[in-house]
């Protein structure tokens, strides 16, 4: 944020910035994630929150309630039986919200090309970031969150999702 420091005169140091930047700075550095461990990737998500990888460094704290979460990490296989619930949880999250699809299963169905798997979570909810791997390592998830931070910093703060979209989701 502080890339626009201009004055170091006699008074206090003043930093000028735009509203967009400061809002996005705040948003991107306190991404609270929804604990949404669906399968194997959920274990890696837990590991990235635990001792070695320590997700709190990024301001990412796992919340159990969708109302308090800003980023949904779909960590694992999304089945057709569960699809309804992921949509409900997504609808319950407050704007602004982002979705990381973690692992091949959530991206495309992955190795489970079967009758009971949703072939990509983006058939049900919009996804911001796709994270490859089966299962992705915790470092990969952290990298994904950093990419998401970059993405957030780049978009306008009052991002309007009212744009009519071609797709339903």
């Amino acid at each position: 944020m502080a890339q626009h420091q201009v004055k170091f005169g006699n008074g206090l140091p003043v930093a000028l910035t735009t509203v967009d930047k400061i809002v996005n700075w705040g948003r991107s550095n306190s991404l609270w994630a929804l604990t949404y461990g669906l399968a194997c990737c959920g274990i890696e998500m837990m590991a990235s929150g635990a001792s070695r990888y320590d997700f709190d460094r990024f301001g990412t704290i796992f919340r159990a309630s969708p109302r308090q979460a800003e980023v949904m990490v779909i960590a694992g296989t999304l089945t057709k039986k569960h699809a309804e619930f992921i949509r409900r949880l997504y609808d319950q999250m407050a704007e602004p919200k982002w979705v990381i699809s973690m692992g091949s299963c959530a991206n495309t169905g992955g190795m489970f090309n079967t009758y009971s798997i949703v072939q990509g979570a983006d058939r049900v909810i919009p996804v911001d970031l796709y994270l490859p791997g089966c299962a992705p390592r915790p470092e990969t998830l952290q990298y994904a969150v950093m990419m998401l931070q970059k993405k957030i910093r780049r978009e306008p703060a009052n991002r309007n999702r009212n744009i009519p979209q071609k797709r339903f989701i």
């Binding site: 626009h4 201009v6 000028l16 735009t18 967009d20 057709k80 039986k81 699809a83 309804e84 949509r87 495309t108 169905g109 992955g110 090309n113 079967t114 009758y115 009971s116 949703v118 072939q119 990509g120 983006d122 058939r123 049900v124 996804v127 970031l129 796709y130 993405k151 780049r154 306008p156 979209q165 071609k166 797709r167 339903f168 989701i169």
Partner: protein, 273 residues
């Protein structure tokens, strides 16, 4: 004129694409039950009380065939008199195509004798089987799963409902006639449920080809360095370079454009940073 390839309808599972005409699959050897002392006694006792259609030892495990209407009595006898107290597993095997029925197996364990026994029975299509839930609670879940996966009705079960699949699911997935990737209702299941049937056209069919890549798809993929807004149609012309834009360029109150013109770094410059 070309002929359509013949595909059997009664078994749509994957098949070996090449089989030697003269290949005869070897059989796992079936030993007589009297080759094992403990099993021999068990079979003798069972034969005294019930009709046992077949009994043999395959891979160190006794297999007995029974009539499907005897299952409750025989399992009770096995549990109470022959110490086979654990029903570890039960399920069915689909033989509808070959023999018009299912084979149901009960995998039992005796901790006293350290032996396993597999009780098998053949169930004609359309017939039902009696629940063994009252003898073994583990059958509660196992029979529900069998009902869900094969559609086999179980009599007197306390809660015979689908267990793995949702209640409004069509078809029984483990039947040989059910394709691996699901029938039509399965393929649209989540779309129908969440958005309604009208959305089928908009969302489109499932992409089952795992190797499919569409570089013009801006719905699913962001293009690093060449971002366009989601859903932009770039099928005709692909932007080669996307300028980075900031809001203040248009002029924000009190703030002049503080950004120096952004320079696109070469690969070497990027490395040096």
């Amino acid at each position: 004129m070309s002929m359509r390839e013949y595909k059997p309808k009664d078994n749509v599972q994957a098949r070996a694409y090449y089989t030697d005409r003269f290949y005869v699959a070897p059989q796992l050897s079936k030993l007589s039950p009297n080759s094992d002392e403990i099993y021999n006694l068990d079979v003798i006792k069972l034969k005294e009380n019930f009709e046992i259609l077949d009994a043999y030892i395959q891979k160190d495990e006794l297999v007995i065939y029974i009539n499907s209407f005897d299952n409750l009595k025989i399992l009770k006898f096995l549990r109470d008199d022959l110490t086979y107290g654990f029903l570890m597993e039960m399920s069915a095997v689909d033989f509808l195509a070959k023999r018009d029925g299912f084979e149901i197996f009960y995998e039992m364990l005796s901790q006293v004798k350290r032996k396993r026994i597999r009780v098998k029975t053949f169930l004609k299509k359309g017939l039902t089987i009696e629940t063994v839930e009252n003898l073994f609670r583990s059958a509660n879940f196992a029979e529900r799963e069998m009902f869900d996966m094969f559609g086999i009705q179980v009599n007197n079960h306390s809660f015979l409902k689908r267990i793995m699949m949702p209640d409004d699911w069509h078809g029984n997935p483990l039947l040989k006639t059910y394709p691996l990737q699901g029938d039509e209702s399965a393929q649209w299941y989540e779309v129908d449920k969440i958005f309604g049937k009208d959305a089928r056209e908009i969302i489109g069919p499932e992409i089952r080809d795992s190797a499919r890549v569409d570089r013009y798809d801006t719905e699913r993929f962001s293009r690093l360095g060449h971002e366009v807004s989601k859903g932009t149609d770039i099928y005709k012309s692909e932007p080669s370079n996307t300028a980075v834009q900031f809001q203040e360029k248009g002029g924000v109150f009190l703030i002049k454009n503080l950004n120096k013109p952004q320079k696109i770094l070469t690969e070497k410059e990027r490395r040096d940073r």
